[in-house]
Structure formats: C-alpha cells, structure tokens
C-alpha cells in the first residue's frame, strides 16, 4: 500500500485514537465470541444435566491423555504468540517472524491431533447422524454427548483454522518488515484472538474429557 509503514486513517485524530478504537473493537468482538460459544456450552450443560449417566459413559470415549497433550500444545502456542506480540512491540523483526511461525506450527499440530481424534471417533462408530452405535439403553442420550463434542470441538477447530490463516498473513507482512514499535496493532489484535481460542479450549478440555472419569 503506502510507503509509510503505518497509515493513519483519515477519520481518526491520531494513531493513539486509531489504536484505541481497534483494541476496543477487538475486545467487543471477543465478547460476541464468548456469547457465541456460550450458547453451545449452555446446550451442553443442559443436556449433561438431563442425562448425566449417558454423558459419563460417552465421555469415556475421549482420551484424557490426548486432550492433555493438545492443551499443552495450545498453551505453548499462546506463549509463542505472546512473545510474538512482545517482539513486535520492540520492533524485533526476526524474533517476530520466528515466534509467529512457531505459533502457526503449534496450531497445526493441535489441528492434526484433533483430526486424529475425530477419525478415531469415526472408527468407533460414534458419529451421530452418520454412523452411530452405542451399547446400552442410553444410546440416544449418549448421542447427545457426541453431537455436542463434534459441535464444540468443530467450532473451536474452525476458529483455529481462521487463526492460522490470519497468522499466515501476519507472517508474510512481518517478514516484509511492516510492523514497527509505532504500528503493530494487527499483531496485537490477532494475538488477542489466538489467546481467546486458547481459553475456549481451556474450558472444553475439562468439560469434555475430565469431569466424568469416575462415573
């Protein structure tokens, strides 16, 4: 675009106002995301409340070890993302590129593990609406667990895919040296998004994998 590394849009007084607006906008967007995931989490909660036994039985199909590995991967990616923002604040181009690349790689690892886990579910014939068989009288209620499992992890994975794509764009721009200590708002905002997706998983992990181990 322009020669300047950053551009002040015409309708803002100064860069500070522009950054202020962008940050506030991003946080409001994240709050809409909270409500978006909140709806499906509420659906999960009521279904679990109404069918506790079936949900306990069904959740044994999800391996807590894999979930823990994925949690660790995502937390590491959050660290690299935070460090990327840190590097962009200081204007260190090479570390920024490196941390962004690391974040993308970790995000892809997470998605790969998730894909493995999903394919496992397909092999076990616990995909409601496609291929579902579950032992015992509570099969119908257990299907609800898997429906919510796929809905919630699917939505989360979709957000991850979008996040990886956004970080890819950032990576290219960071490589070209677009981000400076004066202008690195895109890195910061993408970081907020990435951490948000991490937080969603922090809640999904216990809800889907852990809380019913003993039932």
């Amino acid at each position: 675009m322009s020669e300047a590394p950053y551009a002040l849009q015409e309708h803002f007084r100064d860069l500070e106002q522009q950054k202020d607006a962008a940050t506030l906008g991003m946080w409001i967007f994240l709050v809409t995301e909270v409500m978006f995931f909140g709806g499906v989490m509420l659906s999960y909660s009521t279904a679990r409340y109404l069918h506790p036994a079936a949900f306990a039985a069904a959740s044994h199909y999800s391996d807590p070890l894999i979930g823990a590995i994925n949690t660790a991967v995502l937390i590491c990616s959050s660290l690299t993302m935070a460090l990327a923002v840190h590097a962009s604040q200081l204007g260190e181009r090479k570390p920024l590129v490196g941390y962004l690349a690391a974040t993308i790689v970790l995000g892809c690892v997470f998605l790969a593990v998730k894909a493995y886990e999903w394919s496992h579910k397909f092999h076990e014939h616990v995909v409601p609406g496609y291929d579902f068989s579950f032992p015992g009288p509570e099969a119908r209620s257990a299907a609800l667990y898997f429906t919510h499992y796929f809905a919630m992890t699917g939505l989360h994975a979709l957000h991850m895919v979008i996040g990886v794509a956004v970080l890819g764009v950032l990576l290219v721009r960071a490589w070209k040296g677009r981000y400076t200590p004066a202008y690195h708002t895109p890195v910061e905002l993408s970081g907020l998004y990435w951490h948000f997706v991490d937080i969603v998983w922090i809640f999904l992990y216990p809800l889907l994998y852990l809380i019913d181990i003993h039932r």
Binding site: Q9, G25, F29, T32, G39, L42, G129, R140, A143, T147
Partner: protein, 557 residues
C-alpha cells in the same frame, strides 16, 4: 438522485455530489452513503414483508379464508414475520438513521470502522438474498420462531437456507453494533462528554449492547437448528433425546432483547422529535439516558415470559413474570419524561411531531397490554391469540415504524437537502395513525374473545372485526405508499431546506444540508448541553426556511 436543482442555489460540495456513478456508491465507506444504501435495502424488505401482510389480511376477510390454502397461509405469516423482524424492524432505524446520524451527532468524521460498516451492508444483503431465495423456492412455514422439532424434522420447506440467511444477516447486526459502541467511546468531538450526548446516541448505544451480546446467541442457536436438520441430530428434537424447551430458551434469550433492539431506536427518534418540536429542554435527561441502558440490561432477564405455557419450571415462570414487570419501569420513565417535556412547551405541529406523538400513544397501548401478557394467569388465557399479535404490532408497527417514518421526515432535509411537501406529509401521518388503529385495535378484541393466531380460518362470529382489520390495513398501505412517493418527488423538486430547518440543537444541524463528505468543515467543539434551547442564541426562531413555517414564534411572548 443527483439532479440539477430547479431553483439555482449556492452550490456546495456535499456527500451526494462529491462523486458520481454506481461504484462510488457500492464501494463507499462514507457512513452517510451507507445509511442511504441501507435505506434502499430495508425499504425493499419492508415492501416484501408488507406484500405478505397484505395477502394475510385479504385471506382473513372471510371465516373460511378466501385466498390461499392452509399450507400456503402458514408460509404467508411465516415469511411476513421473518422478513419484517430480521430484515426490516431490527436493522431499520439503527442502520439507516443511526448510521447516518451517530457520527454527525457526536461530531466525528465517520464511524470508527468505515470498511466494516460497508461490509455489514453487503453481509446484510447476502443474508437477505438467501432469504429471498428461500421465499422464491417455495417459502418457509415454521413461523418466524423456528421452533423445533417442527423446523428441524417435520417441515418440508426451505428451513436451512432461511436459517442460514438469518445467521449471515446477524453478523451485519453485530458489526453495526460493534461500530456504534466503539465510535461512541472513542470518536466523540472535543467537549462532547457523555452527559452532553444526544439521547438518540444513548439509545443507539443501548441498542448496540443488545446487538453485540444477543445476536451471537441467535446465530449459534439457528446454526444448531440447521445442523440438526441437515444431519438428523437430536439437540432439540425430543424424539432423538433433545430438549425443545432449550431451543426456546436460547431463541428468546436473543429474540426478546431483539424487541428492544427494535423499540429503543424508536424511542431514540421520538426523544429528538419531542424536544425539538416542544422547543424545550428534555425533562430529566439523566433519567432517560439511564432508562435506555436499563431497558437494554433488564431486557435480557425476561425472555422466559414467552414460555409460560411451554413446560418451563413454575418457579422460573414466576421469576420471569416479576422481571418482565420491571421492564415497564424504564419504559414508563421515558413516556413520563416525554409528556413532561411537552408540558408548557411551545409545540409546533410539524409532520415529524405528529409521528412522535403517535409513537407515544401507540407505544403506551402496546406497553400496557404487554403488562397483561407478563401476568402469569392472564397470559395462559391470551397466549397465542390475536391479543398477542395486536400487542406486538402496537410496539413494532405503532412504535418502531412510526418512529422510523418520523425520523425519516425529521432528518430528510439533512439527508437530501430538501423539504418534503408538508401538507401531504401531515395527511399521510394522519392516514397512518387511523389506518393503524383500525387494523390492530380490533385484533385486541379478537384475541380477548379467543381467536388464535396463525390459523388460516376462524369462527364466523369473528368476521366483522376481521373485516375491520383488513379495511384498516388497506388504509395503512396508502399511508406507507404516500411518503415513499413524495420522498422520491422531493429529492428533485422539494424546496431547499437549509442547514437547520426546524431548528434543532444537535451537532448534525450545525453542518450544511446535505453534509459535506467529512461531515464538518471544522471539527466542532461542544460547550453546551444537549437540547439547550434557552441558551442557544445561535439558533434563530422561527427558522428561515422556505416551505416550512413553525406554528409559533420563539421565544413565546
């Protein structure tokens, strides 16, 4: 649009004539032009929804139904509801008047995110096109509420594409709300403190809160319905283990606050109209501003009153009933403050004022009958009858549409630079008021007598009232077509309005009509409170405007 004016006036560069051509509109990031783009879109959807309303009223002329068969009738009222609610009432005032005016009123050059604003218009139209596609392919018969398991299992109509259309259009609401919130927080002109914001902006702020926090929930809910229908899952379908009441909770968690999305901007417009045409400070500025926010917040606590007979817990019903009464408090504060503002005001009976007064009366009717419905025992009696239909049409049509038209008249000189024909406009306002009451008042009686809503036929003893309602609807139709005609006429032939024809006190009246592309030649510095009529010596009364003379002079002797 941009014709040579018949009367030669001083040419000034404004947002309408800075550039010409289709692309200068379709790729614009100017909030004023986007407001006009939205005006075109929502007007289109208004007439689509109105078309179905016409068919419904014609059909109900006779007890056995004259026009269509039962299945088609189901589609008629569904498409009327869906198009009107999601594609007219929710977006109308915020996206047209709000888009145009919020930056002007706070003294900003544009909204905080102009490109997102344009994107929201495209997203809205994409959703609308999907909706039109569903209509064209044979329509939808679930009712605008999409209750499963009917919507997810039994209906043979185009539920998925319709749901997807609403899902997409929802993002446009979110973007608009987000834009307003950020703009009001970060873009106010120097001196424009929160206590000096016009109440139009306060109400839009409250509306945006609902947009941002409610819309995601309807999005995920309708997405789940779509997924359930496509893959035959059982999230809401009881035959597959799901819980249909959960859908109703999630649906009304958004859709009840959505009622406040529709009416809060209507209150916003009315507040402006009442003060300007009473030439008086608004009575109780702080209370009205707080009431807007209170409505937005309390509005989120009342959704369960739609489910009194749906199998909800009795305790929950009691709580929701009490909370629903609470919402009447801020609404009543507003009504009392408007009437207190009128008291000893120097009232002029300009067209926008007629709409403003009409709003107050009809909103009170709609609001008071809302209290009947939030009473547990009464609701069991009138639930799903025409009483409910009449109630929400008094709020939606009598409230929101009246205010929308009033606002369009009030700010039309600002938007187009020209006046509409005052006499004809007054006539149309009166026609609308009469037509509206004739259409919907009989429905209160019908509902109280027990005529259920959504039925394609009814007992013969209801016919007189139904014919009255249909007759009223045809008068109403004239009332809607007239403004459409004379607004278009006035774009070319209306008298030049001048910057401040009424005159009003908001910042939007300080700039030229139509405003220049960046709104103000010099960013204004605000040193006065909102509606400070007594101390605004820069305002001349009566306004020196051709084509319009206020009824009284100012100040009164």
């Amino acid at each position: 649009m941009s014709a040579v004016p018949p009367v030669e006036v001083e040419h000034h560069e404004n947002y309408l004539n800075t550039s010409y051509g289709v692309w200068s509109w379709l790729l614009t990031t100017d909030h004023k032009r986007i407001g006009l783009l939205y005006l075109v879109s929502v007007t289109f959807f208004f007439f689509v929804g109105g078309f179905f309303a016409t068919l419904i009223r014609l059909h109900l002329m006779t007890p056995q139904g004259t026009l269509v068969d039962a299945a088609t009738y189901n589609k008629m009222f569904t498409m009327h509801g869906v198009v009107m609610v999601f594609f007219f009432l929710i977006p109308a005032i915020p996206t047209v008047l709000g888009n145009f005016l919020v930056p002007l009123m706070i003294g900003a050059k544009d909204l905080a995110f102009p490109r997102l604003n344009l994107a929201s218009w495209y997203i809205f139209n994409a959703g609308g096109l999907l909706m039109i596609y569903s209509v064209m392919r044979g329509g939808l018969d679930t009712g605008w509420t999409f209750y499963p398991p009917y919507s997810s299992l039994y209906s043979n109509t185009h539920v998925v594409s319709a749901v997807l259309g609403i899902f997409i259009a929802g993002f446009s609401s979110i973007l608009t709300g987000l834009n307003f919130l950020v703009t009001v927080h970060t873009m106010r002109a120097p001196g424009m403190t929160w206590g000096r914001l016009p109440l139009f902006v306060w109400s839009h702020y409250a509306t945006s809160i609902i947009f941002v926090l409610g819309t995601p929930v309807i999005a995920i809910t309708l997405a789940l319905v779509g997924i359930e229908r496509i893959f035959h899952l059982g999230i809401f379908d009881p035959s597959l283990g799901g819980d249909p009441v959960l859908f109703q909770h999630l649906f009304w968690f958004y859709s009840h606050p959505a009622v406040y999305i529709m009416v809060l901007p209507g209150m916003a417009v009315t507040t402006e109209l009442i003060t300007t045409f009473s030439r008086k400070r608004l009575f109780g500025y702080g209370f009205v501003a707080a009431a807007s926010i209170a409505i937005a917040v309390i509005g989120f606590f009342v959704w369960g009153h739609h489910m009194f007979v749906a199998g909800q817990s009795f305790y929950a019903s009691m709580v929701f009933s009490i909370l629903s009464y609470l919402v009447a408090i801020p609404s009543a504060i507003k009504v009392f403050n408007w009437t207190a503002t009128l008291y000893k005001g120097s009232i002029s009976w300009a067209t926008p004022m007629l709409y403003g007064l009409g709003f107050i009366g009809l909103f009170v009717m709609g609001g008071m009958t809302g209290l009947f419905l939030s009473a547990l025992g009464v609701d069991v009696h009138v639930h799903d009858t025409y009483f409910v239909v009449a109630h929400f049409h008094y709020i939606m049509v009598g409230g929101t549409v009246m205010a929308y038209l009033g606002g369009l008249h009030y700010w039309w000189p600002k938007m187009s630079g020209r006046m509409y024909p005052e006499g004809l406009a007054k006539f149309a306002a009166v026609v609308l008021f009469i037509g509206f009451n004739l259409t919907f008042f009989p429905q209160f009686v019908l509902g109280y007598l027990g005529m259920p809503r959504r039925y394609h036929s009814y007992s013969p003893e209801f016919q007189v009232l139904n014919v009255m309602s249909t007759a009223g609807a045809s008068i109403l139709a004239v009332g809607y077509l007239l403004p459409m005609a004379y607004f278009i006429w006035s774009m070319r032939y209306g008298p030049i309005a001048g910057p401040n024809p009424w005159p009003g006190t908001g910042l939007e009246w300080l700039t030229a009509s139509p405003p220049p592309e960046k709104n103000f030649e010099v960013t204004p510095v605000v040193t006065w409170d909102a509606y400070d009529f007594p101390n605004r010596h820069d305002l001349k009364y009566p306004a020196p405007t051709p084509g319009f003379t206020p009824a009284q002079t100012w100040p009164p002797e």
